[in-house]
Each structure stands twice: as C-alpha cells, then as structure tokens.
Symmetry: C2
C-alpha cells in the first residue's frame, strides 16, 4: 500500500501492518512525521530506504516515498453473508477498470453497504490503482474477491437475497424500485450483456432514467446513484 | 481524438472533423470499416498511416490505430447562459483529475444538464484522458472551460442562478434541498475548502448523507448522485 493517505488509513484500521518503508522526504512533512510516530507507538516496524530503492518498489510515477507492507485478510464470505438480518451487498461482474472498482468500494463504505463481492473477471482490490481510488475504504469494508458468480448468485438467492441488476434497459426505474431486507445490487459488464446463466438469478432489472444523451453511465457513477437512492429512502438517514 | 468509440461519436456529432488518421488494422474490423465508409459519405478526409507513425501521435499504450483531428468550438458562455429560462449548470472548481472530469461530463450529458463550467484550475476537457472518459459526451454537451470563478459566480448570481455548493459538511441534506428554475451545482476542491471570495456567492451548501465510513465521496460519484437527485424529482422523468 503506497502513499501517505493510504498508509495513514491502514495504520488507523485493524489490518495487520508488517512494515512501513519510507524515504527521508517523509520526515520533512508534518503528516509524515506524525504517521511514523503513530507506528512507533503501535510497535509497527518502520525502515528508511533511499529514493532509488523506493522507486523500484513503487508503482506510481510521482511516488510520495512512503509505503506499507500488509496482509490481505482471509475471510469466508459465506460466514459473513449467510446469517439472517438486513443486509445490502454490491456484486460486481466484469468491472475491469481498477479506478472504477476503487471508487465503488469508496462509495460503498460511505453508504454503509455491508460488503462488495467481485466476480473472477474484475480488477483486484489490492491493485495499487484500486487501493488508491478507495482512499482507504478498503480497510473498513469487507470485499470478497474473485467469486464464481455461477455459484454465488444462486447461493445468494437461496439465502433470501433479492438480486437487482442495474442495466440501461432495466424494466423498473430506480425511483419506483422497491427494496427488501436482503438486497444485492448487481452491476457491471459495461458493453457485454449479462450471460443467461447469471441473468436467470436476477429478481428484477432496474434502470437509471436518462434525461439527455449517451449510451450508458460510468459504472462507478451508476453504482453511487443506486446506493444513494437505496440508502436515502431508509428512515434512518 | 483517439480510439474507435470517440471517433464514431465525433463523426456522428456536428463537430467539424478535419481528418481521420488510421492504421491498416482499422480495416480489419467491421466497426472500423463502417466508420471509414461514413467518413467518405460525409466528405471527411481520411488517410492511412503506418503503425510506427501512429504510435508517435498516440497518447495511449494500447493504441487502437484510429484518431481524428477536430477543432474545439469557440462559443461565448454568457450568450448561452444568460437567456431566461429553466437551466441547470454544473460548475467545477479545482477538479484536476481528467478521469473525474470526463466522467462528470458523461453523467451531465446523460442527465440532460445544460452545460458544464470549469474553473482555471481544472483538467482540460480536450485532454485525451478526459475525452476518453466522456465516451463522446463531449461532443453533445457545452463545456465552458477555464472560467475565472471570481467573476463567473457573481455573474451567474446576477443572472438569477442559485448556486448550491456540494460539500461534506453542507447544511442541507440533498434529499431535503429545494431547487429553483435556474440552478448551479458547484462541486470540487476535494481536500481544499472553497475560498471565501467564492463561498460568498453560494446560496446554500448541500451534503450527501453518510451512512458508513469515509472522509468524502469521489467528486464524480458525488456529481452523479446530485444530478440524479435533481433530475429524478422533476415530474418529466
């Protein structure tokens, strides 16, 4: 995980941090110094490395000179998804752009979505571009990656989830859609239609109405609208 | 303008196309061939160039081998913005990421927003990354770029526009916000607060309620939610 912001969020979260690597430039900024102090307090090892070595491990052009080594969490998605109770999940099929995936995870954390599920074809949540776009939301929200949707969608249906697929030609306008206690919002695929063996598990298709021009919305923009619409209806807001 | 999709949208629009440049690979695809045929019908000059020359003009790693030379439209924003009547504008301050700017333009076209205004600090609409993210919406929606907001915001107010600034700590929840006939939704700045000399022209600050975690939403996600909320309320949808 690279960059000051991501490292700050990581250290603040309950993720395990193996080590922080930083260049001397980090010591020149107040935020950088504060972060290294926090690491010392939490017994997180940190090591200064030179700018040349940092460049080798960095994936960005304008590296900030700070990175953290962490471990992905192993968690059984079904132990989380199965138990009874109100729950809203975002299921992403074929979302290949890491920026879009990261933005969706960031929005999902903001709207208190319970988990994000991704299909095998999606970008990886730990891809540096994805992680950066999440702005740290990755450390707060369960993301279950690389699921086989031919198995996951029927399993979700069996567990009482209603799967609503958002698509341009959806039958119900999102404004008129009703939601149940256990919701899955299925998005993605952009140019490809959802294959039949997945579509058969969809309880309803929903659309975001178009008032102007265009073939579609960006998938992260569409996801944000759907989450906002679903959550802002609840009396709790 | 580079890539098959953008070139298709450009040729379909009423923008002036000076020339299409393509590699032989374009002739191998049905869509590519169809586009070149359309160009011939519309008397648009096209020229085949070799892959090496194309690489020199291309700004993408995986170039599709097709590009168009076009002209930006010179249009006086005020001649468009001033006339009486219902109008909704998106004003972007300090949106430096071209992907975010492009996504906002795409959403604005979808929701029938009348124009997008950008401040001097924003990314350029004709930046290849911005153009790609618009998916061609750039050719359908007026985008007035590089405006000095210290002059533009008071001018808009004088013309009867109500400026609503979307920010995390906004005083009115977007669900309870009222809109007038002439609306400006002002967004941007991410980490920087709106400077006082601009904030004084803001009629109201609005917020998107948070149900979970995070400091903020991505600006393009926030813009999509605001446009959807505003437009879906109108009885016309």
């Amino acid at each position: 995980m690279e960059g000051l912001r991501l490292c700050e969020e990581l250290v603040r979260s309950d993720f395990y941090v193996e080590q922080i690597l930083y260049c001397s430039s980090t010591l020149a900024s107040t935020r950088g110094k504060r972060l290294l102090e926090t690491c010392r307090k939490h017994n997180i090892t940190s090591a200064e490395i030179d700018a040349g070595s940092f460049k080798k491990i960095s994936s960005t052009v304008n590296a900030q000179g700070i990175a953290a080594i962490t471990r992905t969490r192993e968690m059984d998605p079904w132990r989380f998804i199965r138990p009874a109770g109100n729950r809203t999940l975002i299921a992403l099929w074929n979302v290949k752009d890491p920026g879009n995936l990261g933005t969706i995870i960031r929005s999902a954390a903001w709207f208190g979505i319970d988990a994000v599920l991704t299909s095998t074809e999606c970008a990886e949540a730990t891809n540096p571009k994805t992680a950066r776009a999440t702005m740290g939301a990755l450390f707060y929200l369960p993301v279950f990656e690389g699921l086989n949707f031919s198995e996951a969608l029927p399993a979700l249906t069996t567990m009482g989830y209603h799967i609503r697929h958002a698509e341009v030609g959806g039958e119900i306008c999102i404004k008129d859609a009703s939601f149940s206690e256990r919701n899955v919002i299925l998005l993605g695929g952009e140019t490809n239609p959802l294959p039949r063996h997945l579509a058969e598990w969809v309880a309803a298709t929903v659309r975001i109405p178009r008032f102007g021009y265009g073939d579609s919305l960006n998938v992260a923009a569409a996801a944000a609208i759907l989450m906002a619409e679903l959550k802002m209806r609840s009396p709790r807001h």
